[in-house]
């Protein structure tokens, strides 16, 4: 048995891993956002890095001079918070847009229309033009594990990836549990 604080797959360590885009890919993403008029959706399944990418995008936009308005929604927080007072200097980032009811989605979209930009994350395409599609691979999972200090073989990462149907968050949780039990892979 090992202490939670020492677990290489503890949440605080996993959160340090950022979305893996090269600088040219970032430039292309920001150019596409510009092309879409500052309005788009980051689309992908559970555990594919949508929230991480949205946070990283927020930092990039902030560095460009935007005031970031982050709306975080999830299964526990489905209600739309106060969204009044947004202006052209604001860039609205909404994580988990699919949690909203139809009426709240319309409210958010109406309010965000006054902002300088609006990007959401969602599991399914549709609500806004697709800005980026998040996809995972066994190689990405292997790279993350190595970066966290616990390398996996190609076979291990392939099997783990398949067990969780590409959900890297769930795969990393399994690695957390295995490490805490001292299970050798």
């Amino acid at each position: 048995m090992r202490r939670a604080r020492d677990n290489p797959f503890a949440v605080h360590r996993v959160l340090r891993e950022r979305y893996r885009l090269t600088e040219p890919e970032w430039s292309a993403l920001l150019a596409r956002l510009d092309l879409l008029g500052g309005c788009g959706a980051i689309v992908g399944p559970h555990g594919s890095g949508k929230t991480t990418l949205l946070e990283d995008l927020g930092e990039r936009l902030e560095a460009l001079g935007w005031r970031i308005r982050f709306v975080r929604l999830n299964a526990e927080q489905r209600r739309l918070p106060d969204v009044s007072g947004w202006g052209s200097e604001d860039f609205v980032l909404c994580d988990g847009a699919e949690q909203l009811t139809f009426v709240d989605w319309q409210r958010l979209r109406f309010r965000a229309a006054r902002a300088g930009g609006f990007v959401i994350t969602t599991h399914r395409p549709g609500p806004l033009p697709e800005l980026h599609r998040c996809e995972t691979t066994p190689a990405l999972l292997r790279g993350l594990a190595a970066s966290l200090g616990e390398p996996l073989s190609a076979a291990e990462s392939g099997a783990l990836y398949a067990r969780h149907a590409g959900d890297l968050r769930a795969a990393l949780r399994e690695l957390y549990d295995g490490w805490s039990r001292g299970v050798s892979r």
Binding site: M1, R2, R3, A4, R5, N7, A10, V11, H12, R173, Y176, D177, S180, R181
Partner: protein
Amino acid sequence: MSTGTLTVAPTDAGTARRPGEVIELSAEWSLATPPRTLEARLFWFTRGKGTQDVNVVETQPVASLESSGKRRVRFKLPEAPYSFSGRLISLIWAVELVADDGASARWEFTLSPDGKEILLDRRMASAPRAR
């Protein structure tokens, strides 16, 4: 975030602390731009599998508009919660020196009646401790 250094360390050695004890720390900073506020925070936080939790127990102002300096700060430690670790979660105590631009330094310590981290698993507690 401005460039420079911040350090916070106890004036006496050791990280084993007991409930109700008064700890004294030396806070030292040298920053490129004077921080509007510089404060010391006594807090605990969690590490592990689930959502991270944090609770600031006490905050003390250290300085304002001074680009460098050295001060002593004291905190009376509360009775609880004790430092502990299990498989799912660890609770860790710390004092942090934080400038308003986000620059910070941290010193972690253990709070419990015997100054040792409480290990929630019996096998863990009975295992020989590394020296």
